[in-house]
């Protein structure tokens, strides 16, 4: 059977085998590489199901892909085969305010959903830095989250039902529009975070929440990142839950200022951005409480209340990771070891150890991240034309991953495992990894769905 002809029968000219096109699908935003044999852009559940069944019958790997902004190589077809580019299935099918939920296709862009919800006074809270370009399918498959995770949780907390195409092409629903259910295993939660290894998501019902009346931003700077970490721990233990709690070390601050010179940010120290939301009075009260907690520790503090000022800071913060070369055009940020997380109490220790690792390998480092949930983004930057720097970078990243596990944490808090962090799964999970492997074997006996990922 000629596979090209068979695929063409299903999707027509939405199949490409052009070498240039295939090359564009051989990577995502990580360093993982793998060349597909076919790229398909399906338009419907039925098309996805037919393609997957064809792949199943012919034992061809199938890798789903959203926007390819993933940082773990999840969307990279390391075993070749078919890439299903889901970004064209991008319709918002239903905005159901009465049931406070939406039904979307997986290719809908996070920001596009929130733009559509804004006039209704609602939003979908998980907002990764990549919200302008990443898809909801990618977010579900990675259990992505973002700056507001500390209060609002991760993607996992917002999915009610998924339509999933299984390895043999069968289409199932994992949930319903119900708020709760006590019937059977929670397959929705199983699919979330499964990185396209158990099924292809073709529709999702998502819970939405009312937009807060107001937001305020406390900007506090500290002598070093460790003290900043202590301020965060103290804020939480005082019973305040900010809607976002981000750390920016001094290098990140410099990068941000290059990116947008008009930003109003402190000129010294390591900074924590504490965002609070709610009604005018509850937000004010929370902001004041945070400032009180920080007084003995902070070098300086200020409060941003204007929407524009806050929006500008968040917009720049979202892309700071990719903006390192603004500081030194010969350096690029390479996403490795960039997503570790530890229990909040261990944050100061993690910050210290990570700095030591960067110094040991003589690599410039920038530290930022969702410190409120124990998630640190370490940005190591190198001259990509220098082989020695690549070697040092990879060694440093390895040590960072092992340090996180040692501190009782995770190698990935939100970016996923993919192929980039697969080798750490055994160390992090021990015998639990065997359970995951058993699940995978049951649902995908031929191993066609996104092989080479998750250390399975």
């Amino acid at each position: 059977m000629d596979i090209t002809t068979e695929i063409r029968k299903i999707v027509g000219d939405r199949l490409s085998v052009s070498p240039s096109e295939l090359y564009c699908y051989s990577s995502d935003a990580s360093q993982v590489k793998g060349m597909p044999d076919y790229v398909v852009r399906p338009k419907s559940t039925e098309e996805v199901s037919l393609i997957v069944r064809l792949a199943y019958e012919n034992e061809i790997p199938v890798t789903a892909r959203g926007a390819g902004t993933g940082l773990a190589g999840g969307a990279v077809p390391v075993g070749g085969g078919i890439v299903l580019d889901m970004s064209g299935m991008n319709r918002i099918l239903e905005i159901d305010i009465d049931n406070i939920q939406v039904v979307v296709e997986p290719g809908v862009i996070q920001d596009a959903l929130n733009d559509a919800l804004k006039p209704h006074g609602f939003f979908f809270p998980p907002n990764p830095g990549s919200s302008a370009m990443c898809t909801l399918g990618g977010m579900i498959a990675y259990n992505a989250s973002g700056m507001r995770c500390v209060k609002y949780g991760t993607t996992r907390n917002y999915v009610r039902d998924l339509e999933v195409v299984l390895a043999d092409g069968t289409v199932i629903h994992t949930g319903s529009k119900m708020l709760k259910s006590a019937a059977g295993y929670d397959l929705t939660q199983l699919i979330i975070g499964s990185e396209g290894t158990l099924g292809i998501v073709t529709k999702a019902s998502l819970k939405i929440v009312p937009l807060p009346k107001t937001r305020k931003l406390v900007i506090a700077s500290f002598e070093n990142a460790e003290i900043a970490g202590q301020a965060v721990v103290k804020t939480f233990s005082n019973g305040v839950i900010p809607s976002a709690c981000e750390i920016l070390d001094r290098v990140s601050l410099q990068v941000l200022k290059r990116y947008d010179p008009n930003l109003v940010l402190p000129s010294e120290g390591d900074v924590i951005l504490f965002e609070v939301d709610g009604t005018e009075s509850s937000a004010r009260e929370a902001a004041e409480q945070i400032m009180k907690v920080c007084v003995p520790l902070a070098l300086s503090m200020s409060l941003a209340e204007s929407e524009k000022e806050m929006a500008d800071i968040w917009a720049a913060r979202k892309l700071v990771g990719a903006a390192v070369s603004r500081l030194d055009p010969t350096k690029s940020r390479i996403y490795v070891g960039e997503d570790v997380g530890v229990p909040i109490k261990q944050i100061p220790e993690l910050l210290k150890r990570v700095q030591e690792i960067a110094e040991k390998f003589d690599l410039p480092a920038m530290k930022y991240g969702h410190i409120g949930d124990g998630n640190l983004h370490l940005a190591l930057f190198i001259d990509v034309l220098n082989k020695d720097e690549w070697d040092r970078l990879n060694k440093a990243a390895d040590l960072v991953h092992r340090t996180a596990i040692e501190l009782g944490g995770t190698v990935s808090s939100e970016h996923g495992v993919g192929a980039a962090r697969a080798e750490y799964m055994k160390a992090q999970w021990g015998p639990a990894l065997e359970v995951m492997r058993a699940i995978k074997k049951t649902l995908d006996p031929k191993g066609i769905l996104n092989p080479g990922k998750l250390g399975l």
Binding site: S16, S18, P19, S20, E21, Y23, C24, Y25, S27, D28, A29, V39, R41, A67, G68, T69, D85, S87, G88, I109, D111, S130, A132, M133, C134, Y259, L319, V320, G321, A322, A323, V324, S325, R326, P329, T330, S332, R333, I334, Y335, D383, V384, L385, N386, K387
Partner: protein, 375 residues
């Protein structure tokens, strides 16, 4: 470059630079960290949907060529379909300049003999006839014999008409020159295409010849300032010609001379489309708005200035991929606010593309608006 850096570059790049005909500044390409931010803004990607049609795809393909993949026609749908609108560069967190990289890559592809038919046709039109349309008429056909004979031979100011106004919109040329003549502006005795189409599509060597010809003409007239009403000519004259030239766009000239123009107020509302090569590439945002507001009410489009979406006409895309080009224009028209009487822009290429997209609202060049306020 420091010795240390050069050493490193050789370590990773030597083999390729010796064996490959394809060589462009590696750093400009490796600046891209593949974050995908540009996916959210690239208008061509929006219309096409394939990864190769967005900025990151283009940067990846260029990377693959640098790393040894032989250049072939297979890369053209990606690399030839960039309008060079520059919105990706404006948004790229890593500070990459993709349209510049794409243009450099196109020049390398031309060297390797990898071009589209449309590209070749465009080149031979410019080389043979001195204009991008292959038109055989005189470039000054829109002036009468008498008018032509009266043109001052020397002047400090020259109106660079451009291929579009000369051959497609001679009425714009007439109106523009009608205004500029009052200020002692003349025309070049033998203007040729500014070379923009050649430069944007990779024919750098051929472009040199045309630019040299125009420069000689400019020197002959003794002009120190060139005024142009086309965004493509403007960016080319300003950024690709020698620096001693002072180049100003028609809207800038008009904005500087508002008082002398003595414009009357008109009772209607217009919106303004920022041409990419005037706006984003050269930051001329305020002058056209100042001129418009001196005449009538301005109501802005949904995306403006730095965020303005491309009309789809540039970078050789209109000639090479007319369907994509028109799709972009149609999308741009969706940004037009309700209740405006005209869409004003200041580039004949944008006028044509937006007109061809077939909206209900008339698209006019800024010179037509000014002419209405003078009449």
């Amino acid at each position: 470059m420091k010795n240390e850096e050069r050493k490193n570059e050789n370590e990773t790049g030597e083999k390729n630079s010796k064996e490959l005909p394809f060589e462009i500044d590696r750093r400009s390409v490796y600046k891209c960290v593949q974050c995908g931010t540009c996916r959210s803004v690239c208008p061509v990607f929006d219309a096409v949907g394939w990864e190769s049609a967005n900025t990151r795809g283009r940067m990846l393909i260029i990377k693959s060529l640098l790393e040894g993949r032989p250049p072939s026609e297979d890369v053209l749908p990606s690399l030839a379909s960039c309008t060079t609108c520059g919105i990706c560069a404006a948004k790229c967190p890593a500070g990459a300049n993709p349209p510049e990289v794409v243009e450099a890559a196109r020049a390398q592809l031309v060297k390797c003999g990898v071009t589209t038919e449309a590209q070749e046709n465009l080149k031979s039109a410019v080389i043979t006839y001195g204009n991008s349309f292959g038109d055989t008429k005189s470039r000054k056909h829109w002036l009468s014999e008498t008018e032509r004979s009266k043109l001052p031979e020397k002047s400090e100011y020259v109106y660079f008409v451009g291929c579009f106004d000369s051959y497609r919109y001679p009425e714009f040329a007439k109106k523009t020159f009608g205004i500029l003549q009052r200020f002692g502006v003349t025309l070049l005795p033998d203007e040729q295409c500014c070379a923009s189409p050649l430069l944007r599509t990779g024919f750098t060597e051929d472009a040199e010849k045309v630019m040299k010809h125009n420069l000689e003409q400019i020197r002959k007239v003794g002009a120190h300032t060139i005024i142009t009403s086309c965004a493509g000519c403007y960016t080319t004259l300003k950024n690709n010609y020698p620096e001693e030239l002072r180049v100003i766009s028609l809207p800038e000239f008009l904005a500087e001379h508002l008082e002398e123009l003595n414009l009357k107020k008109l009772d209607f509302t217009v919106t303004y489309h920022d041409p990419c090569h005037l706006g984003r590439h050269n930051k001329v945002y305020n002058a056209p708005r100042k001129v418009i507001q001196a005449i009538c009410t301005l109501m802005e489009m949904k995306n403006i200035k730095e965020n303005a979406r491309c009309c789809g006409g540039g970078g050789g895309v209109r000639t090479g991929y007319p369907d994509i080009s028109l799709e972009l224009a149609r999308t741009r028209l969706k940004d037009v606010p309700e209740g405006v009487d005209y869409i004003v822009t200041s580039c004949p290429l944008c006028v044509r593309n937006l007109r061809d997209a077939g909206g209900d609202i008339e698209v006019i060049d800024i010179v037509e608006l000014v002419a209405m306020a003078i009449e």
